[in-house]
Amino acid sequence: MRTLVIAGAALLLAGQAQAKTLGVAPGGDVQEKLQTALLDARPGDTVAIAAGRYELTDGLSLDVAGVTVKGAGPAATILSFKGQKSSGEGLLITSSRVTLRDFAVEDTKGDGIKSKGADQISFINLRVEWTGGPKETNGAYGVYPVASTNVLIDKVTVKGASDAGIYVGQSKNIVLKRSRAEFNVAGIEIENSMNADVFDNVSTHNAGGILVFDLPGLPQMGGHSTRVFRNRVVDNDTPNFAPKGNIVAGVPTGTGVMVMANRDVHVFENEISGNQSSAVMLVAYRFGFTDKTYNPLPRDIVVRDNRIGRNGWDPVFEGGKVMARAMGGAVPPILWDGVTTFPGLSDVVRVRLSDGPVGNLRLAKPGAFDQANPQVTPTYGDAVLAEPRPVVLPKAQAALAP
């Protein structure tokens, strides 16, 4: 066994010693050239895509671990999928320890860049954009790691996604920082995920800025421990253009931060202003579900020390306008549906909403907005809730930088 381990280590070292760069330049059959490089790369290799525009007809994919795919910058190396004829995304990653950096993906028919089941997946200095502006026919997600572990997203820009610009789903251990999301339905979304740090991002001109959701019916549920801090969540003013059936179609235009279900979410030190419906909204999942382990209520939520500007002057959610009129023209910046019990669940719902004023809609059950009985208080709740510990990525990944 011991010899085997040593032999394995030697192999690994040998592999790294021979790491090579596979260059791809514009011209010729770029579909075949790029895909062939992605197939030929061995662990430790770099696929270097030279500056230029690459017109692709089909999705690209990488299934080799330990590969870096590197362009000459998000304004210089452009993978255009305007003429895409197949695949659900532009670039698909299904292997671990992959770094994607310094290029752009434009106009994919479905999602932009997706990773599935990858460990240590890093998206650095990328741009994913639908160049025709926000449209319902744009792809759903720009950057889309799902069922992945150790996710790093740093200095990524996403524009025009018809669902979430940057979406991390059913993943664990996530750092999402210094990125920019604009003109998407949701700027940034963390869904059914554990341990996420979302900070120093700008989310603007979306319908909703930053969402932290937990949904039923999925292999990974029970999302928890997300810190949303030092972000600028401002002027989210693009009318929600999501296709109706999608869960984000229910995000009111002009929502700053929205937490749906989920546990241990701390929202602090953000700048939140210019969002017409509300600054921060905490709501229960409102549709039916059959999973006995699913909890539809947001709980253990802290909202503190945010710089809350003008928000909530023209709320577009159900009953919002009536509420605004009753409250002197605007709804409180922090809104909570106030659902604290759910049949079959014994978890206590605790909150500390020390920014305010807080509007507690005091709904009897999820989604019963027509029966809102709002109560406004300067703050709400004083639960002592420990902040989730900072997310720590593996050393080599944490050292990656734009």
Binding site: S86, T94, G117, A140, L218, K244, G245, I247
Partner: protein, 355 residues
């Protein structure tokens, strides 16, 4: 333990075989097992003719009760087993195939689908090879003269014209998958695995040269399959085109073959929570009352995956009816709508009772 020993025995058998001189005309097992794929299909000698139609010794033709739709291409399938090696029966999932086993599938179009045996043009032949390290997927694309097929790892597009079953001329921008796309469909918990060769989907009659016989019975009788109970004790996938079979069984068979390879708890679409394989029984996992998660525009302004009685309100039917990437399902393997498959699934949904 006995399984491990058997596997070891098989491995030793292979090693011995690798050293023995090949009979003229024998399948080149050592090329199948080599880490570097052969540049041409003929190198493996899986066929005895240049056109890839006549299988060599040890290469057995088979058919599936309900196959995946592939843009109306006609698919011919063969299984190669090394000399002396046997497939092992499993009641669910693909048969347990020994190292060296190779699944071979050729995609072809007759000039006129109403005369499927005439003027047939083969486009590509795909191999799924069971090597010691696991399964490998390779694709070989035929030349214009159909005399040689060359390895194509990065995929390709081929213009195809034919006359369809209703007599209409059709043109298809046929897509040969790249090696990763092979795996996207053939992925089970992140590793490549066979899809079609499930006992239940093989449990049907095949027209052998010596006469029709149940495939599992035939393989057992000829010493290529062990551990299989008699066919009537084996689960059976319905034949989706057989109107004599129950509608639900046909539709579930169709969804299993066309969606279940990704939409299962260990497939590429596991994260959706929608499972369409035949083993799934929970209504919510089969799409009833299920909201889309990551469908984007694929939801088509509809709210639920499957609404009993209402195909027009069901996202499953909407996505089957689309040819737009990002909307259409499956994501890979078709560019046109499978009108007949869609009609079956729509009828199934229309007649479905609320649970």
């Amino acid at each position: 333990m006995s399984r491990a020993l058997a596997a070891l025995g098989g491995l030793l058998g292979l090693l011995a075989l690798g050293g023995a001189p090949l009979e003229p005309g024998q399948v080149e097992l050592k090329f199948l097992m080599a880490a570097t794929p052969a540049p041409t299909l003929s190198a493996y000698r899986l066929f005895t003719d240049d056109a890839g139609r006549l299988p060599n010794v040890g290469v057995m033709p088979y058919a599936l009760n309900t196959p995946l739709f592939s843009d109306y291409a006609e698919k011919s399938r063969w299984l190669y087993l090394p000399p002396g090696a046997k497939a092992r029966y499993r009641p669910t999932g693909a048969l347990d195939l020994p190292v060296g086993a190779t699944l071979i599938k050729s995609f072809a179009y007759p000039a006129d689908l109403r005369r499927p045996d005439e003027a047939v043009q083969v486009l590509e032949t795909r191999l799924l090879i069971h090597r010691r390290a696991g399964w490998t997927a390779l694709t070989y694309v035929w030349n214009a003269d159909r005399t040689e097929a060359k390895l194509k790892r990065a995929g390709a597009r081929i213009d195809v014209s034919f006359t369809d079953a209703t007599g209409q001329p059709r043109q298809i921008d046929y897509r040969v998958p790249n090696a990763n796309q092979c795996k996207q469909c053939h992925s089970l918990a992140g590793r490549i695995a066979p899809i079609g060769v499930k006992a239940r989907n093989l449990n049907g009659v095949f027209a052998y040269p010596e006469g029709p016989e149940n495939q599992l019975a035939h393989w057992k009788r000829t010493g290529r399959l062990e551990g299989a109970p008699p066919p009537d004790k084996v689960p059976r996938t319905a034949v989706w085109t057989d109107a004599a079979e129950p509608l639900a069984a046909r539709a579930r068979a169709y969804l299993d073959a066309n969606c279940g390879h990704c939409h299962n708890p260990r497939g590429m679409a596991s994260n959706t929570g929608l499972n369409l394989d035949l083993e799934e029984t929970r209504p919510a996992r089969l799409g009833l009352g299920k909201h889309p998660v990551a469908a984007g525009k694929g939801a088509g302004d509809l709210e639920l995956d499957l609404v009993p009685g209402h195909p027009d309100a069901s996202i499953i039917a909407y996505r089957m009816a689309s040819t737009e990437p990002g909307v259409m399902m499956p994501e890979l393997g078709r560019s046109v709508v499978h009108a007949e498959g869609l009609a079956l699934v729509r009828e199934y949904i229309a007649k479905m009772q609320r649970p």
